[in-house]
């Protein structure tokens, strides 16, 4: 892993510490309340706070996960570095697209 990827990996990890803690709290709250889709959407719809929170979370996790998977592919698979990089980038793009689609679906529609 080069220095640039290392810094991105650690920076997104540090950024996600509060995100994950809040997300775990949200999971506990939502399951405790046995929320329906309508309950969830009524809380998230039009909320700039949730859009910003989960938008930043999706961006960070897409970068973090793709670099992590790149490291695993490089160390554990026979793929050459370049191919591992392309696979990781594809994963990052898929995660970002699906993640931002989910944020839009929950907050903006």
């Amino acid at each position: 892993m080069n220095v640039r990827l290392y810094v991105w990996q650690r920076a997104t990890a540090a950024l996600m510490v509060p995100f994950v803690l809040v997300h775990i709290a949200v999971i506990f709250y939502a399951t405790r309340q046995q929320m329906t889709a309508a309950d969830i959407l009524s809380r998230t719809h039009g909320s700039a706070v949730w859009a910003s929170f989960y938008g930043a979370f999706v961006a960070a996790v897409s970068i973090h996960a793709s670099i992590g998977v790149r490291n695993i592919l490089t160390e554990w698979s026979p793929l050459p570095d370049r191919a591992a990089g392309w696979c990781a980038m594809l994963l990052g793009i898929v995660l970002a697209l699906l993640g931002f689609h989910a944020v839009v679906a929950l907050v903006l529609t």
């Binding site: 990890a13 994950v20 506990f28 329906t36 889709a37 699906l98 993640g99 989910a102 839009v104 679906a105």
Partner: protein, 116 residues
């Protein structure tokens, strides 16, 4: 690989690093599915509601408890890495790794108890 080359694999800290890596990999596999399901609400909540009803089964709840455990243990394992790399070294790394695993198991267990 020689016996000396694999000796570290019995270490708690090697196990902690491996758990961190495998939990991250499992979360990376799960995330696209998670995002896809949340995106079902794009055209209203009916499809998401159908999924939430489907997920109200013991086996699915048990799997969700496992995911909460994976998320917690990956978070705590990541904190351990950040602390090791950015702060002064201190003794008790093994105890911290065991504590991280115990806290994660506890969070996953509490989640399951609240679900059932």
């Amino acid at each position: 690989m020689s016996a000396a080359g694999t000796k570290h694999r019995g270490s708690v800290l090697w196990l902690a690093a491996m758990v961190h890596r495998l939990s991250g990999l499992a979360l990376a596999v799960f995330l696209p599915v998670h995002f896809f399901v949340l995106g079902l609400s794009f055209h209203g909540g009916a499809k998401l509601d159908a999924f939430l009803r489907w997920s109200d089964r013991p086996l699915v709840k048990f799997a969700e408890g496992g995911l909460v455990f994976l998320l917690t243990i990956h978070l705590l394992g990541g904190l351990r890495v950040l602390v090791i790399e950015n702060l002064d070294w201190h003794d008790g790394q093994k105890r911290l790794a065991m504590l991280a695993a115990s806290v994660s198991a506890l969070v996953g267990f509490v989640f399951l108890v609240r679900m059932f």
